[in-house]
Amino acid sequence: MHTQSHHNIFIGPEYPNHVKGKSIYVDDMPVMEGTVHVKIFSATIAHAKIKSIDFTEAEQTEGIIKIFSAKDIPGENQIGGIIPDEPLLADGEVHYCGQAILLIAAENEDAAEDALHKIKIEYEPLEIITNPRVAYAKGKLLSPTRKFVLGNSSETFKNCKYVFEGTTETNGQEHLYLETQGAYAYATEFNSVKIFSSTQGPTAVQRTVARVLGVSMNNVEVDVTRLGGGFGGKEDQASTYGTIAALVTFILKRPAKCVLHRMEDMRMTGKRNPYSSDYKIGLDDNLKILAYEVTFYQNGGAAADLSPSILERTLFHCTNSYFIPNVTATANSCKTNLPPNTAFRGFGGPQGMFVIEAAIDFAAKQIGVEPYIIQQKNLLQNKNELPYGQIIENCEAEKCYSNTMQKANISSLKNEIINFNNTNKFKKKGFALMPICFGISFTHTTLNQARALVHVYTDGSVGVSTGGVEMGQGLNPKMIQVAANALGISTIKIKLETTNTTRVANTSPSAASSTTDLNGHAVYDACQQINTSFHSFIKKDLQLNKEDVVEFRNEVLFVNNQSKNISWNELIAKAYLARTNLSAKGFYATPTINFDKTKEKGHPFSYHVYGTALTVATVDCLRGTYEIDFVKACHDVGTSMNEKIDIGQLEGGLVQGIGWMTMEEIVYNEQGKLLSNALSTYKIPDIYSIPKEIDIEFLDTQNDNLAILKSKAVGEPPLMYGIGAYFAIRNAVLAFNPKSTITYNAPITPEKVLMGLYNK
């Protein structure tokens, strides 16, 4: 395979369109004559029986076409992806504030808005639970408890020199994709619908629509151009809005648009799952962690959504980047009266890692050593067994860790910080190292498959369709690179088509950091099939030998490494005339992976991604505010096929993780009502709050891995570097107030910092 060196900075045609405002998102699509606007009437109480509901007056409002209730659903009133436990429209009971009850279909948005206020509803309140531990105590679980066991932790604690126990909390996180949830749909012939959806999972939308409308999947076409951000929030939950638009158009036979207002989106959709966790950690004399027990209480919200799967990934990552020979990890997905929580970059992994990092930090402080001493002594090595049975190969944990320590010159940094803290009364600095080890693949083995469709047109241009969705992660440029690479032609010849379920069926969602790997391999396979038929035509046409090696380099034919001065375009035109197949459907299923849920053992990941970040923070101990001075990291990218995209993912993930750990605070009151319900009350990082310096070095490894072009997945892993910011800030608080009772409760907002600085 011939690689072109400029590829690792390839940008693609997408970005020039973005900066000109020409990229099209759902709400930018020109609407057709007669389009109906849909507004959702949703629950204002978190748990209740609906005693009565009256929308007669609302339906008579000028401009209202029809108001839909659960009774109007022709198929099944069910949108649950993993477990069928979630109605599209509430029927008789509501289980969270923001749950959809009625759909108002109107000539315009204003009319719908007016009608909204004319709906009369009476509730009979039921008990509201917002805390996962309370739900657990009452036996309210969304799915059965899961347990991963390695060795024998309870026996081993008896032999440990140090044993510590504690509790941690991590809050949720609002996705805040800048483009809100939405869909546009219209009815097509033969009882069918076509839906333009802002979704990470086109097939999930298709399947859900088919179920709710009571039609076959081939009656439902889903098309996705791109998303204005997804981050997991549109993996499963976009199906709701796609289905709403589809239902309205299916019944009314008029195009229907449902795009959420930001406050509706925040109120109705689920977020990253909050977790409450208990841990017990045991170490020997040499600070080797011998045993670890952890119990997770995941706040799943009112329906399963993806929570059971997220829970599983929490277990997979409960020991982060460390080898611990005796582990018992138990996880409960608890049912509460909050919007169903869902996927968010990291997918339960960050929540699991936070606990082990807190356990190590607590142990270090009790023993009187720096936490990094414990971290370093317990890093994973080749041949270590993980709690789920996978054996570590091609481990880069120690290399990333030591590279970061060197890069930051840890011993002199430590002294600088001590000196700074001694000389500044109201400013204190803290630092923390955060190693990561993240498994790549969907943990649900079935999902690790992908298809792609590649057409070469008679003028030599190429169209590529995949099952992946471009949402800012740089999938499309990377797919163009893969196709260009495989075909030996220029990237400008290749166009990425929209993601459409009639062109590429049975797609896995764009998630689990795996989209580029899976779809890239499928594109590569399709291109190879075209090469096979095309090259055999060439051999015939040019009367070459069967053994001759035919390839294209920059669109010029090479035979056995010799240029033939014949262009791609010319040969494609001839191949078509000679009736050669110039289209192919590629397929890929990740080899070697497996997982047996009955034993909770297997080899679920095609590979792991490693890295370590060091974070230094400064706390203003008068005001309780903080800044991140810098983050230095060494990250295992394999062999990056696109450095610009990868650095964007790394920095973006890091900052999103810092947001989760610092300022992003989701606040529900005890009635399950969201108080942080707008951008004015829920704050995500702005340009002033990011680290002053971010310096991420690629650990460039040539090891064989299953990543496409050996360029490892880069979407989720860097988010977990943000956990380092939590500990750096916390350490600065302790430098000011060593007796602080500050708990391991994230995010570490300015409120928690100030209270921590001055409590006794």
Binding site: G21, L178, G228, G229, F231, R262, G648, E751
Partner: protein, 462 residues
Amino acid sequence: MIEFILNNQTIKTEQPAGSTVLDFIRYHKKLTGTKIGCREGDCGACTILVGAFENNKLVYRNITSCLMPLINAQAKHIVTVEGINQTELTPVQQAMVDSSGTQCGFCTIGFVMSLTGFVMNQTQTNFTDAIKSIDGNICRCTGYKSIEKAAKILSNQIEKRPTHNTLNWLIENKYLPNYFLGIEERLRKILIQQFTENKQAIKLGGATDLNVQKHQLIKKSIVQNLYDDPSLKTIEKINNEIVLGASVTVAQFSESNIIQNIFPNLNKHIKLVSSSPIRNMATLAGNFVNASPIGDMTAFFIALDASIIFNTNRKIKLKDFYKGYKQLDKTEDEIIEKIIFPIPSSTTFFNFEKVCKRTHLDIASVNTACLINVDNNNIIQQIYLSAGGVAPYPKYLSNTCSFLLNKQISEIVLQEAITVMQQEVAPITDARGTTEYKRLLLRQLFLAHFKELNVEINFIIN
């Protein structure tokens, strides 16, 4: 009818005067480059440029179009991304592409427009200004480091920007299309509206809060624009007082030389107040009548001992304007016309403090301003203290001020003042913090005033 120029096109529209410019450009003119992110001015996805005459000079500012009422577009130049696009990328767009400053692309246009406003604005000259121009733009994919690189490229480029004939330079270098040359002349031919009072109308300043809270109502109501009334736009020094027109924006206030000379730390203080696009729209009087318990400029002006004058010529102290939560000492027909504050003497110290979840572009958990005069014996000769987030309205800490007046600053006095202060506030628990936190924070920010005044406050560390 409202008349203005949208990009290169003259617009005369009968659309509701209270509807937003965002809806007009996206849904009536189908210019979909401008995105909708939040409709409350907090994300910047809908950022556009607005050209208007200030002191008879055409000035372009970036604003969030979701908050701008259509009536405020009268006689202005509204510029969307479609209005700067040319065949090739502009240098701003090129810088964003070259530094990979775009990922999902949804926030990108907002950044492009803000940075275009930066290169157009004669008063903005360096990297710090470039970053300031995008302080109201949120990127959730958080390519901020890449966007910083784009800002760096552009701040280097504008080192060559001449101070005269700037527009020609901008056009020659393709930052702007040619048609910009004719805009000033075209705009001058459009009449600014008549500012006759309409009693039925909802009065709009910058509408930066009304359009968040009451968007639907404003859209359906008769509205009257106070924002562009020239008589409400003045900044004057008269004897020992500063007299401000009620519609002076926070940006105009903070950029004024007269004001800059009075407050040496003004830029530091103003940086804590919302964001550039909001400051470009929000009026001072609007902040006062909004009566938000955490209004930043209200806290600021209460500590300046400011007064307000209504159209009825009635004059009251700003600190006496508030009677309860969103309750004002103001009749239906009264409109604030002037804001007056005495110029602090050269020995006077003024400070503004604010803490929120995010340091910038956020609403305070607690804010406070302090004006203080201390003599050589450390005796407090004059003190005005205000605080937001600790009462149902912006609070003048009268008991604390009375307690401190004529006292010599000492640890004991400050400790006792804190006790007095805690008795006159009653913060509530909400999304911005618990009661306990807000009380502690108020103490800390009170002490921060004194620390800024170089008083030792080490006693709080124990």
